[in-house]
């Protein structure tokens, strides 16, 4: 079975699950699962494919969330436009802050993204125009797809919106990966020098990757704001969101389209259920368990769970090939 077929079947299963299981709590978890899988895919473009580690993607998530919230709250503009505008603003911000950061090598770039994420959080905390630390309550509108507002118990509608956005993210990721740009990003990840000797303008391609990654991340952030209907800077800009994106993708498989899906399928239920069991924020237990998983995986299987699955399948094929020879 090839990659595309497996992905297609996986998507159908994901799309049908919330129909089959009619629990609102389950549907809520499915929404967060698809949202975070999408965030992982977007992050994968800059870090998995291009090899530039970003610890600051919450910044783009938050920018998307704030743009779509402010559009509805201040101007009464449909959230769909807010999603698009948030994506574009994140793309512009990402380009401006990444350009100097790309001059830094390896670890320093990662640290710079960490700092940028925190700076942007602080900007929003003290920015009166967007109500600072108080946060924004999205006003009630007429229910329907246009306003992206439904009866609070109608999780199914929200699920299919985020599912559609997720498919959009996947299509973009697939187009990036299987085009000239994907080849170039993988070359850059391997070696900047080798890339430049092949005529690749490394800064330009890293900027493209970062721009696309930030754009997609912000669109998903925009959806999140419309879904929860109330946001403040600590909800949408925290380091923990950046870290969740990093951890789930690394656990699932860096630079692989299945990685974030597998990672999110483990992390999101884990964190939701520890929250239910231990109450409140789950005492961060989810991230502790998850961190341990990542350490184990990183030590034994640098390609994540996807790599593990591939190894097992590889062994199966080898054994199948050996069988007839024996008989």
């Amino acid at each position: 079975m090839n990659k595309k077929k497996i992905l297609f079947i996986l998507l159908i299963v994901i799309a049908l699950l919330p129909l089959a299981i009619k629990s609102n709590n389950f549907r809520h978890i499915m929404i967060l699962f698809v949202l975070f899988a999408g965030l992982g895919e977007a992050w994968n473009i800059i870090t998995g494919y291009a090899g530039q580690t970003s610890f600051g993607h919450a910044a783009f998530f938050g920018i998307g969330a704030y743009t779509s919230a402010v559009f509805v709250w201040k101007f009464g503009i449909l959230p769909w436009y807010g999603l698009l505008a948030g994506g574009i603003i994140a793309l512009v911000v990402a380009s401006i802050v990444s350009y100097p950061a790309f001059k830094l090598s390896g670890h320093y770039f990662a640290i710079a993204t960490l700092a940028i994420g925190e700076i942007i959080l602080q900007v929003f905390v003290s920015w009166d125009y967007v109500a600072g630390a108080t946060g924004i309550m999205i006003p009630m509108k007429e229910r329907g797809l246009l306003n992206m507002q439904f009866h609070p118990r109608n999780k199914l509608a929200y699920f299919y919106i985020i599912f559609a956005l997720f498919v959009f993210v996947l299509i973009i990721t697939y187009l990036v990966e299987s085009s000239k740009m994907g080849f170039y990003l993988k070359t850059i990840r391997e070696s900047h020098e080798a890339a430049r000797a092949l005529g690749i303008n490394t800064t330009r391609y890293k900027l493209y990757a970062m721009g696309i990654s930030a754009f997609l991340t912000a669109i998903l952030g925009g959806f999140y704001a419309q879904y929860v209907m109330y946001i403040d800077p600590f909800m949408v800009f925290p380091l923990s969101i950046s870290m969740q994106i990093v951890l789930l993708t690394v656990l699932g498989g860096l630079g692989n389209i299945f990685g974030p899906i597998i990672g999110a399928a483990i992390l999101i239920p884990l964190s939701q259920y520890t929250r239910i069991i231990f109450g409140g924020t789950g005492m961060g237990l989810d991230l502790i368990i998850f961190g341990l998983l990542v350490v184990v995986i990183a030590c034994y299987q640098p390609h994540g769970l996807v790599g593990l699955i591939q190894n097992i399948r590889q062994k199966g094929v080898e054994e199948d090939e050996r069988t007839p020879a024996r008989g």
Binding site: K180, F183, K186, E193, A194, R196, A197, L198, G199, N201
Partner: protein
């Protein structure tokens, strides 16, 4: 026909107090193979880095096809038709051999199909055709070095610089690598080759430039260089003697 394609004029490069390249000048003419030799630490790789824009030089100029390319960005120099391989191979492990070569072919096309066609042509030329579908990290060191050459060839260079493309190869593999160099020359591509293995570089080079402690020692025909006392003293003591030519 002595038409200089590459002109290196007084290149100087310092690392702190260390003069890695000191006022090095030489030309490479169109269609030639020029060998650049010298003991370890002589400054050969540094010179490559200065010529291809990987390092900022501390003096001197580089001209390619008459154009000043001194301190130009490496990717722009590649687009002018001058590129190089690295002493340490940089195979893209997750990509197949064909896909590795395609990364070079994309310089002149945005289309996957076209890049594939160019890659297949180059794989044919470099005898890597049967290994096209193998992942990059499954290759032997000899094939990896060959793949490095294939990948830069796919950018359709006018001149190619190879940095120790034969290090770590056995006798048969060295012979095959020498044949590949001559084949590339017949394709009309000019070559500047850094090589440690005398038996490999001497027979295929039209001219030899010897570098020692950052300075150019001599520049001449291989047999003259091999018999030069200074060169023998500086370098060729390491087992090779012109008198015992085995090629």
């Amino acid at each position: 026909m002595k038409e200089p394609l590459l002109e290196v004029k007084g290149i100087t490069k310092k690392f702190g107090n260390l003069l890695a390249n000191n006022d090095v000048s030489f030309n490479v003419n169109k269609g030639e193979i020029v060998g650049l030799i010298g003991p370890n630490g002589a400054g050969k790789t540094t010179l490559f880095n200065c010529i291809t824009g990987m390092y900022k030089t501390d003096g001197g100029q580089v001209f390619f096809r008459g154009r000043d390319i001194t301190n130009m960005a490496p990717d722009r120099i590649c687009k002018q038709g001058l590129t190089r391989t690295f002493q340490i191979v940089k195979t893209i492990k997750e990509l197949t051999v064909r896909e590795n070569v395609m990364t070079g072919a994309f310089l002149h096309t945005n289309r996957l199909k076209e890049a594939e066609e160019v890659a297949d042509e180059i794989l044919e030329l470099t005898n890597l055709r049967e290994k096209a579908e193998q992942p990059g990290n499954s290759l032997t060191i000899a094939d990896r070095k060959r793949l490095e050459i294939a990948r830069v060839l796919a950018t359709r260079p006018e001149m190619l610089m190879l940095d120790e493309a034969m290090a770590g190869l056995n006798q048969t593999e060295i012979r095959e690598a020498m044949e590949l160099c001559l084949k590339i020359k017949r394709e009309g591509i000019t070559l500047l080759i850094v090589e440690h293995i005398m038996e490999a570089i001497m027979p295929i080079s039209d001219r030899i430039v010897v570098l020692n402690a950052g300075e150019k020692l001599i520049e001449d025909k291989p047999d003259i260089v091999a018999n030069n006392d200074e060169v023998i003293k500086a370098y060729l003591g390491e087992g090779y003697h012109a008198k015992s030519k085995k090629y």
